[in-house]
């Protein structure tokens, strides 16, 4: 089952490279995404048994993150198929309105193949029970996404890709060092018995050497934290998110960051089992809070709306790190927030793609009256604002509320207060920009008013999911969240 999940997109990627016609390739992309989604659904309904000692296995945490990934990928695939046909995604020389630079897009076959490889590697991240394999998979996601970010072949994309590749590769190299240190911590005095299997490590946590485990956690946190976008290792994130095509930005923000977060959570779980909960938790929470504050400061007065969304991702990842670090019910809140943030942020990035296609600019100041020009996208943009801001009808409210209440309850009052302040600041900054873009006067120049269903449906569904999660969390999801939270050293509310 798991192997099928990993190899299906890989096979499809190979096929995409071989297919010469655009249309069948696009059908293949959506088909592969749909099959992957269906298989993931099957995994949720009847979870495959976790074999002890196996490198691959879908425990509740893995299932949760796999579910998010698969859902987002399906939405992004449907969206991408359309935008690939569109002028901005299509062939030939095009002009960037902001800078006036001319660019040519990468071949569509390469784009599709990389997208599918990306899905495969993310699935592997979610399913690996082995820290070494996890490392390989996370590094592979970096490599699969680099060509995606460089889809629009222009200097700024190239710059973003270079930064992304270098910063993330170096970060992940440090995570490899952390992985080695885990082996040292686990090995006996004669040098044998080192293991990287997460369940085994958790089971034997009492015998691990605390000093080495601490060092390992620091390296893993910095390494995977780079990929997750924790401040101060976040520098690649706004560039990559603003330069990548919108469906890719959606996947980066909604799925990739979560995958890196899962890596940190696994390390945290081992530390928690070894009784180092306070050490690893406070480090994680500290990085999280720092990310929230810094990201909020960058959101205010941000002139580029895709960068603004990217900083919002940094902020939300910070919130999740804070929650996971605090532990207890806050871990549950953090996992729930991972779900909510992913669907909302992916939806917002897709809507941002619509705005970009219509207005041909990423500048906040040059977009106005979107609600009149593009009624559905404009409406979704406003809805997304309230969703990402954590206002009541949306799921983000529930998750943030759960998380912060648990923080207050566990004696992290000041931390939670600072986090609240950062959240408010970010909401104000986002609201100012979003309201001006959605409302305001219609632009004078010619603007494309076309809104086909393929670019509206995916964000609509994603935001609807967030809305639904705000009203009712299915018991199945609740059970998985609680189980995952238990597994990762937290508790259920």
């Amino acid at each position: 089952m798991i192997l099928a999940l990993v190899f299906l997109p890989l096979g499809a990627a190979l096929a995409a490279m071989l297919i010469r016609l655009d249309r069948p390739r696009r059908v293949l992309l959506v088909f592969a995404a749909a099959v992957h989604f269906a298989l993931t659904g099957a995994c949720w309904l009847s979870p495959p048994a976790c074999v002890s000692g196996a490198w691959l296995g879908l425990d509740p945490a893995g299932r949760l993150f796999l579910g998010i990934t698969s859902l987002l990928f399906l939405a992004a695939a449907v969206y991408a198929v359309h935008s690939l046909g569109q002028s901005r995604g299509g062939r030939g020389r095009q002009t960037e309105a902001d800078t006036g630079s001319v660019f040519v897009n990468a071949p569509e076959a390469v784009f599709t193949a990389c997208l599918l490889v990306f899905l495969s590697t993310m699935t592997l991240v979610a399913a690996s029970q082995h820290l070494g394999l996890l490392w390989v998979a996370v590094e592979a996601t970096t490599l699969a996404t680099a060509p995606l970010i460089y889809f629009h072949r222009q200097p700024s994309s190239l710059e973003a890709t270079w930064k992304y590749l270098l910063v993330c590769s170096v970060g992940i190299a440090l995570a490899l060092l952390g992985t080695f240190l885990v082996v040292v911590a686990a090995a006996a005095a004669d040098g044998t018995g080192g293991t990287l299997l997460v369940p085994e490590l958790v089971a034997r946590a009492g015998q691990l050497q605390p000093a080495w485990l601490k060092a390992a956690f620091i390296f893993l946190l910095v390494g995977y934290g780079t990929k997750m976008g924790l401040v101060p290792m976040h520098t690649w994130l706004p560039d990559a998110h603003s330069e990548a095509p919108s469906p890719v930005s959606a996947l980066l923000s909604g799925a990739l960051l979560n995958c890196a977060f899962l890596g940190i959570l696994r390390a945290h779980a081992i530390c928690a089992a070894a009784g180092l909960e306070l050490f690893s938790g406070q480090l994680l929470a500290g990085f999280g809070l720092l990310s929230m504050v810094v990201a909020a400061a960058f959101i205010v007065n941000q002139p580029d709306y895709k960068r603004m969304l990217a900083y919002s991702s940094v902020e939300n990842m910070g919130l999740m790190a804070l929650g996971a670090g605090i532990g207890g019910a806050a871990t549950y809140g953090a996992l729930l927030h991972a779900v909510n943030h992913s669907v909302v942020k992916a939806g917002l990035f897709l809507v941002a793609g619509n705005l970009l296609a219509a207005y041909r600019t990423k500048a906040v100041a040059k977009v106005s009256g979107a609600a009149h020009v593009l009624p559905v996208s404009g409406g979704l943009w406003l809805a997304g604002l309230f969703a990402i801001g954590g206002t009541p009808p949306f799921g983000t409210f529930i998750s943030e509320f759960t998380l912060l209440r648990a923080a207050f309850g566990r004696g992290y009052g000041i931390w939670a207060a600072v986090a609240l302040l950062a959240l408010t600041m970010a909401f104000v900054g986002l609201a100012r920009a979003f309201l001006g873009m959605a409302l305001g006067r219609e632009p004078e120049g010619p603007v494309s008013r076309c809104e086909p269903w393929a670019v509206i449906l995916p964000p609509l569904v994603l935001l609807a999911v967030s809305f639904g999660l705000g009203l009712w969390i299915p018991p199945g999801l609740q059970a998985v969240l609680a189980a995952a939270s238990q597994l990762l050293g937290g508790g259920a509310p």
Partner: protein
């Protein structure tokens, strides 16, 4: 056995120091290639049970990729980009070298008081690995050219590989091969990007890639 390992590690350290002082890109590529080649011997020597097919595979793979494929790739990028052959550092060569000696002393000091649960193959293993990791990071941060940054990444990886030799018994081979594959693809992709950077910007100076700064134009 441990004598040979010692000599390899000293070679590793010297290669790092030469890299810190090297001013020609082509020389730097050659030194990194030699470093990778010699490191490929390590798995064979560090293994307690002597020659194991897994260790041979790992060593040969590592030596082949780092000693031949990477240099060929980077040299090709260098040729096609027609980059100037100087490295153009932010921190001067002499200062880099002196900093290197300082860090080397620190890593020897640190390595001597690190309580490893079991004795490594050589006392020099941990300091040499740490120093190599530092050299890689230092090269990435202080050198202007994109190619040098790729080289720094390879050196960083060499350092981690060396440190990994401490636990050669405990690490499953499959993971090591996966790591190797990832590094290979990473450098491959980086090589392509370097080539593209040159095509777009007519230079490979990564410090001029600054359009996306916060508050920039």
């Amino acid at each position: 056995m441990s004598g040979v390992i010692e000599i390899i590690l000293i070679f590793l350290i010297l290669a790092n120091l030469i890299l810190l002082g090297a001013s020609r890109l082509r020389n730097a590529i050659r030194i990194v290639a030699w470093q990778g080649l010699v490191l490929g011997l390590m798995p064979l020597l560090a293994h307690r049970d002597g020659l194991v097919w897994a260790a041979i595979l790992l060593g040969a793979g590592s030596a082949g990729i780092k000693g031949f494929v990477f240099p060929a790739l980077l040299n090709r990028a260098l040729r096609e980009t027609q980059a100037s052959r100087e490295i153009e550092p932010f921190v001067g060569y002499v200062l880099s070298l002196l900093a290197g000696v300082g860090v080397l002393a620190l890593s020897v000091w640190f390595g001597s008081r690190l309580p490893l649960p079991w004795p490594p193959a050589s006392n020099l293993l941990v300091p040499a690995g740490m120093f190599t990791v530092w050299t890689g990071l230092f090269l990435i941060v202080t050198r202007r050219k994109a190619i040098t940054q790729v080289l720094g990444y390879v050196v960083l990886e060499n350092g981690i590989f060396t440190l990994g030799m401490v636990l050669v018994e405990a690490m499953p081979l499959l993971v090591e091969l996966g790591v190797l594959l990832d590094i290979f693809v990473a450098v491959f992709v980086m090589g392509i990007i370097v080539f593209n950077i040159n095509r777009e910007f007519d230079h490979i100076d990564s410090d001029q890639l600054a359009a996306l700064k916060e508050g920039g134009p």
